[in-house]
């Protein structure tokens, strides 16, 4: 029988994979995708616990997380296009304009 622990451990695994991707990749778009992965694993935790506790508030939280993720995607990808226009690359090694 599938309990709430199965869902929690699945989302912990997915969150760790997302962290691994954020720490190891250099392409900014892939890092962005790994952040989406982490957001999704947290959404799974919210829905599993909301089902377990028979309460609707967790799913409302997931709704707002999705709204924020959509806004983040729009602004983040616009930032990447603006950066690419300056540097012709989106490697995180090239994000050094504020260094001196």
């Amino acid at each position: 029988m599938i309990s709430v622990y199965h869902y929690l451990i699945l989302s912990a695994i997915i969150f760790s994979i997302g962290t691994f991707g954020v720490l190891t990749r250099k392409n900014a778009i892939v890092i962005f995708m790994c952040i989406e992965l982490m957001l999704n694993s947290v959404n799974l935790t919210f829905i599993a616990l909301s089902r377990h506790l028979q309460n609707m508030d967790g799913q409302i939280f997931v709704f707002f997380v999705m709204a924020v993720a959509a806004a983040e995607a729009a602004v983040g990808l616009a930032l990447m296009i603006a950066f690419y226009r300056n540097r012709e690359s989106i490697d995180t090694d090239d994000f050094n304009m504020l260094k001196w």
Binding site: I2, L10, S16, L23, R25, N40, I47, L53, D57, D91
Partner: protein, 167 residues
Amino acid sequence: MLSILFYLFATVAIFSAFYVTKARNPVNSALCLVTTFICFAVLYITLDAPFMAAIQIIVYAGAIIVLIIFVIMLLNLGTAVKKRYTHALAWGAALSVIMLFITNTFIRRGVPTGKLGDVTTQMIHSYGHTELIGMALFTEFLLPFEIASILLLVAIVGAIILSKRQV
């Protein structure tokens, strides 16, 4: 039956999530991300949340992934060179394994209890999941809902300003 479904989709989700971090070509990463999102939508259905599954497919697999693939193809990104990220690999892997271990111990040690609400399976089936979400969203969470709409408006304006050539 339900456990077979859970293990199948959990395995597919884990493997495709891992391939998101490993694929050289960003387009392959994006397609694997779609697979992960669809597996998550199936898991939401097993959790009696069909509205959340629909939103997951529409917003994530529909809107956000299309935006990401659009940007990847607009920037014409090539495949990553292999030697460029080997140095951080060990540290990143060690840190994420430690994090997985810590969260695992906390999940196994604790018991998720609390005050039980009134949304039972029988109530979801008689009212409908969308009706319950809408009822909570437009009564108890009305102010956060309006703030979210303002946030989306600000994001639209910000994206247009950022991608203009000269402000």
